[in-house]
Chain length 1016, copies 2
Amino acid sequence: MTQTLDFQSIILSLQHFWAEQGCLIWQPYYQQVGAGTLNPATSLRVLGPEPWNVAYVEPSIRPDDGRYGENPNRMQMHYQFQVILKPDPGNPQELYLRSLAALGIDPRQHDLRFVEDNWESPALGAWGLGWEVWLDGQEITQFTYFQQAGGTPVDPVAVEITYGLDRIAIALQRVHGFTEIRWNTAPQGGNSLTAGDVNLQGEREHSTYYFDVADVERLKKMYDLYEQEAAACLDKKLVLPAHDYVLKCSHTFNVLDSRGAIGLTERQAFFGRMRELSRRVAESYLEQRQQLEYPWLQEDAAASAAAVETTLPSPAAAAAPAPLLIEIGSEELPVGDLAAALEQLRTRLPALLDELRLAHGPVRVQGTPRRLVAYVEDVAPGQPDLEQVVKGPPADRAFDALGQPTKAGEGFARSKGVEIADLQVREIDGGRYVTALVRQAGRPAAQVLAEALPGLVASLRFDKSMRWNRSNVAFSRPLRWLLALLGQQAIPFEYAGLRAGSRTRGLRFYQPEEFTIQDAAAYFRFLEEQGILLDAEARKASIQSQVAALAASVGGQAADEPGLLAEVTDLVEAPKALRGSFDPTHLSLPREVLISVMKKHQRYFPVFKRGGQTELLPYYITIANKPATGSQPFEGGELIVEGNDHVIRARFADADFFVRDDRKHKLVDFLPRLGTLVFQARLGSMLDKSRRVTALVEALAGTLGLEGEARATALRAAELCKADLATHMVVEMTSLQGIMGREYALQSGESPAVAQAIYEHYLPRYAGDALPATRPGLAVSLADRLDSLSGLFAAGLAPTGTKDPFAQRRAALGLVQILLAGEMDFDLRPALQAAAQHLPLPASAETQAACLDFIVERLRNLLLESGLRHDAVEAVVAAQRHNPGLAGRAVHQLAAWVARPDWHTILPAYARCVRIIRSAAPGEAAVPVEPSAFVEPAEQELYAALQQTEQAPRQPGSVDDLLNAFLPMIPAVDRFFEKVLVMAEDPQVRHNRLALLGRIAALAEGVVDFSRLEGF
Amino acid sequence: MTQTLDFQSIILSLQHFWAEQGCLIWQPYYQQVGAGTLNPATSLRVLGPEPWNVAYVEPSIRPDDGRYGENPNRMQMHYQFQVILKPDPGNPQELYLRSLAALGIDPRQHDLRFVEDNWESPALGAWGLGWEVWLDGQEITQFTYFQQAGGTPVDPVAVEITYGLDRIAIALQRVHGFTEIRWNTAPQGGNSLTAGDVNLQGEREHSTYYFDVADVERLKKMYDLYEQEAAACLDKKLVLPAHDYVLKCSHTFNVLDSRGAIGLTERQAFFGRMRELSRRVAESYLEQRQQLEYPWLQEDAAASAAAVETTLPSPAAAAAPAPLLIEIGSEELPVGDLAAALEQLRTRLPALLDELRLAHGPVRVQGTPRRLVAYVEDVAPGQPDLEQVVKGPPADRAFDALGQPTKAGEGFARSKGVEIADLQVREIDGGRYVTALVRQAGRPAAQVLAEALPGLVASLRFDKSMRWNRSNVAFSRPLRWLLALLGQQAIPFEYAGLRAGSRTRGLRFYQPEEFTIQDAAAYFRFLEEQGILLDAEARKASIQSQVAALAASVGGQAADEPGLLAEVTDLVEAPKALRGSFDPTHLSLPREVLISVMKKHQRYFPVFKRGGQTELLPYYITIANKPATGSQPFEGGELIVEGNDHVIRARFADADFFVRDDRKHKLVDFLPRLGTLVFQARLGSMLDKSRRVTALVEALAGTLGLEGEARATALRAAELCKADLATHMVVEMTSLQGIMGREYALQSGESPAVAQAIYEHYLPRYAGDALPATRPGLAVSLADRLDSLSGLFAAGLAPTGTKDPFAQRRAALGLVQILLAGEMDFDLRPALQAAAQHLPLPASAETQAACLDFIVERLRNLLLESGLRHDAVEAVVAAQRHNPGLAGRAVHQLAAWVARPDWHTILPAYARCVRIIRSAAPGEAAVPVEPSAFVEPAEQELYAALQQTEQAPRQPGSVDDLLNAFLPMIPAVDRFFEKVLVMAEDPQVRHNRLALLGRIAALAEGVVDFSRLEGF
């Protein structure tokens, strides 16, 4: 093995590489910046229309990441290598991969992946879409297409590549942490130094300074001075000096933050102030470049003007039906976008073909992260000719009385391209009109497809889409090639600056990257040889069987992980499972931590001891993007496994570090820190929230039947329920919230019941998750959700459209699920009122009502989704919306009643009572029933039956109780209507009868609104 | 011609080069620093005993150098490339020169010179010795051996090489200013950018910010906060965070300074505060490394332990007298040190040979900046044997009464290595002692020289000397080789880590760099072939003739420039004159500016029109270090001339810029800026000073006979005399003070007389310079000097030893010269008193007296140096010290009298009167003369003569008038002493006679003290 590059050689190699690509090599900035993005060489230069290609090192300072030099990967200063390519050169991924090769990373020996990761900096008014780049499981680069900066669109789009030099060096040199990175290579016998030699002391000292020494008052004063100075510079249009002060503001804020000195309201204010300054800086910069008339634009514009315009060839007509193959090649699509795009194609392509009048056979749409492929069998060589009768003006206006064509008649004929003589008069809808028979000749399929396919691609929509080049079209990720073949004929069209043709690309790093194919059969053969599995189901099956085999070979089995499996399936084109291992001592970590790290962070399949899903084995299985099949199946993979082993080792070491560190304190000791975690600006910190939840649990204790120990447990759990959010482990992996809380609570000597309630209060976390099993857990869970919902609605933050940043849908769904599951009698109205009482801001009746509506909507959906009759749901919800638990039970009961064969005898009896009331004049039924005023015996009889029914014991909201009580009355009801004329002349008699029926109608109040039922 | 490197490739090449030399490649610092030295990779890492080799770019921020991007070379940000080599690798100059070659600079085609330049940063408690490196006249690098940093010695010494990247790029790319520097090279057709593209806007904006926008109050607050934060860090021993804040202090101070916001007392206070912080940072860093037990030291120490100790061979004895050749090879010696070393060798080598008892012929000592060479003819092959009689104890104690040797006798014999029988008794100084005849065998010359030569080298002393390697010896600059040959035999000795031998080095860049020679003859032949002129006189002559020829070839002539000639002679080993030219339009600049730039900055000979020294031609002559003779005489030099042309063009463009800029204001407008220029902390600003000078001119106007217009002129000139110090041109070139003042005064509409007086007030500037020719000029000149001297003495800043930072010797000398030249009657006592009255601090009688003494000392020296008799000078100075003008005249007069043949008749007459008075009892002559009490006619006669003499008109202080008046009295004096017994019995008579003689003695009071004359 040859000597790997030392740290400084990595930098020099990257500088050389990018210089050769035409990048200007720039220097780190003379201010403390959190990332290379803040260097004006990025944050300003990406603005405006001018081209800009630059590369530079940036030692990036993030006070909060300081770990006193004790963490292998986390440092207050890490080294970034920043590249900006503007405009997109068309192949930035390939350039990037070549740069890795220049560092000695052979991509064929490693597993290199582009994993969706989008970037946003509200403080800079900036965002972009892109990926993390993974090298054998380690994130080594951030790759982003900058869409917006300084609050304005980045146009042309800039590609930002940010290498994590420390991580690359660790991976490349196969060392265990930053202190071991070999920095230089001294000549014979000299002292080679490590990053630890030169930077460890700095990590210790700066961490100490940032966390323990920095003087808050002084730093706040500095911040103010910087801000004022920045404003003064902006007033004079001094962009760069102003930017410098914004950077000083930003760093000072970061130090204050790591000192834990930023209060809630302050934080928002700080961000607002910095955002405003950044916006003004960007604005001034743009103005300035405009005034300078964009000096760097000229040559570039000239070069593009020189590009020769060519016309597309017109495809010839084919003779016989042929298969149609369309491949849309892109940079790695996010998992969700891949599925969405395939789904859209499956709908739209057949529709398009039909619209184009192209006969065709079956349509098959499949894809991988890099290609969306549609295959249509037997597409007709052309459209059939079309004959259409077109309606013209009325016959008497097209021809005069003499039968001579008028001007209107002539005009119509001309406009349709037919002779006057060919016009025919027809009777249409009872009128007489001239008509023309218009014949449209069918065009060759290739021609109409060439015209239509751009529209097909353009019609694909994504949650987030991006622009990347001059074409300014939007897509999930940049499109890089288009293939369209009808039989053996290429369908020429242009889209997104690409020209469709017969070239495709293979699996990354496998030859040939570009390949011309003859026809669909050759295409599928090519993919097969490359080991690419186009069909997601095939990939999924391959992964499952490979994972199972690898797990079995160490006496284990993989759990059923449908979510992970689906995700991984759409992360690769060619799945190759590889098994790695980790030090069994890590098995002492909480199981959920291990699983979380493996699944969430690394997309690994954990391996359990055969026969269960509780005991982990010290193995994991990763799915590399390598051919398991095809002409060059991937062998070996030791390097990939070694890299992944290193990553998981570091991750587990981190987790060990965090858990050890967390365990130094009792769970309750983390509470004060919650004061620095914002729940929401106007609703206060997480500490405020957990206090409110505690108060609410207390208020609801009676309702929820909590007494004695259970009540004490619930209160203690409420107090501690959010404490783990301040622990290292949960800060690091949010998905472990509740899990770590339970763990740490037990460690801290809390009772198992409290620990369990802490864990349960997050339940259910996702659809299908377990629900709180204990009363205290349930109480805290309800209180937490009620507080969130009432508070956020009161703060005017109700979810709108698809926006739901506080996950209120999930909160409301969980709330409803819990209530439904227990069929709990729980009235949301007083509960929301109780919640509102503790809020730091007023909750108006309207917001409370809106909140209730929102929860009811979830209830309605849940009931409908469970397959219940729509009318039954509506009937119950109309009456019991405020009490989901009872409503749920009622709907089920009602549904059962409706399904009874005698239902047609029950409902009408009740309905007659109600209907007549409703048709009466307002107020006519609003008198007390006066038994002495009854005229007919049927009245008496009904009244007696009613009294019986009214006295029957009924559970609140129970449809069964209602109807079982009502059933015996039915004969009396029927007789009543037989014998009695309700609408008697005598008002008193009439009113008394209506009042009697009103009492019957009222039996269903608060239980069900039968009028919503079909057949009412 | 191949493409020259672009800016980023220059950086990459240097990084590669130094990485290959084992340097760690570091990054620019994340703070605004004024120089790479402030990066902790230098300022801290050079401290302590550990080795450290590092190289990095440092964009250096110097607010005061901002020029709004309008100056070709001056920017608020320039790019340094910093290299630290610690310890000295033994060949840092060679490594440096190789790095230039790596940039494509062929040293044989260029003129590369090491020009003395020492570095000091009081704020960092740091200093070092070294050079500016010149490339074809352009300073491109600072090369320093760091002697002290953070107030502690740098041990081992660190070599600091600071490349000026912008200048190197300008030279290499042959462009005209920083904006034209090609930064990168875009691939085919792309946009290559210049430094102007990426940095010009920054220069404009930052200059504007630093000079016009930065808010003084806010910056002062920032400074205070930084300082407090630095102190807080230091209290916790957080070295790096503290250093960061010191850097912030430093930058903030610089910004305040460029805003003109630093007052006088403030400036000193700021410096003191920063120095103290820096000191504490350094101290803490050293402590820290010590506590870490110097982790980088081990391997290095082990490596040095492994070095094999060898012994020197013992030289054999020679047979016959042979020439001795000694060559001490060094890095380029400063001009003064070269002369001093040669002078010392000329004295010490013969003395050493004599002391070593080595007979020898003539000694010749010569040298160049790189070698000190001694050549001694006919050195004896060995010492003669030595016989010495050694005195022992007294004979009667060495032998007992029986003649037997005592223990003392035996001991003496043993100690001298002789037999008892060989002891002899001799009579010495009247006593009888045993003696031994001790014979010392002569040793071979080579042996004794080998032992003695280290001491010879070590004995050389310099004004400033330095250490550079483990040997820790001191020298002017590092010694790099030693040659010592006696005949053909090498004299082996070790010094400064070098072993002397028979190897020498040739002219830089000329092969062979190292060369073994057989004997002295071969040595001189070698030098001749190399074109090296060892003899300074030969170099001087060569320069003179080359310069004359080159000047003549363009119809010009060079001025006689002895100072420049001497300096240039000692800057090169092989002088090669080259003629360059500049744009004749620059001739419109003030002549003094042009000459100053050429001579002072560039060491060029200006070329005047033939026949005068007033009209310049647009040429200059530079002396390159290239062989004009020898086996490979240098031809061409176009590249060198082009480079120098560029430098002079840039310099003149700068001057043009400055003068144009200065001319935008009237001279008087610069006065307020003088408030920011410190004269001396306790004595205020230059503005304060010029106000004092004006007041003093007013006070002295009467004394100096200034009236009417002359007085007004003097006062106006005094007011404006320092104004030009605030102009760009003078800030840039201090030597133009007065000259620019005159120029700008005329431009501003001041009268020619005022302009002239402004110019003249600096006269005389050096020995032999002109003196003020006008009364106003003279008045301001005197007042300026009186103010300086009285003020500095009052402030306790009298010069001590060789220290004279305020050039008070020069001030006093000038003062005296002016007074002498005009034979002015000017009493220093009231003048100093008047000066004292305007000072901002009290001037005690003692400091005033000391000041007067200091001036008188200069007077005495000047008179003596002009060849006047010592006794005459003393006689007059004793009487007229306070009035140098009259004293000077008086000394000349007295000297003439003393030279008269009849002087032996004049002096005794006067002397008799004085002597008898002095021998009388105190008070005896202190009575009024009572004519009625005269007894003898001779008394009467003398009294009458005295009255005559006393009434003769006399100019103050005039010896002539005194003696001419006295001459007629001499017969009466003689007669008086013949006839009269002065010391009569009768006290009244005696006292009267003594009083008469006292009146005669008093004639000389305030004129001369004859008693100081020889023969008195």
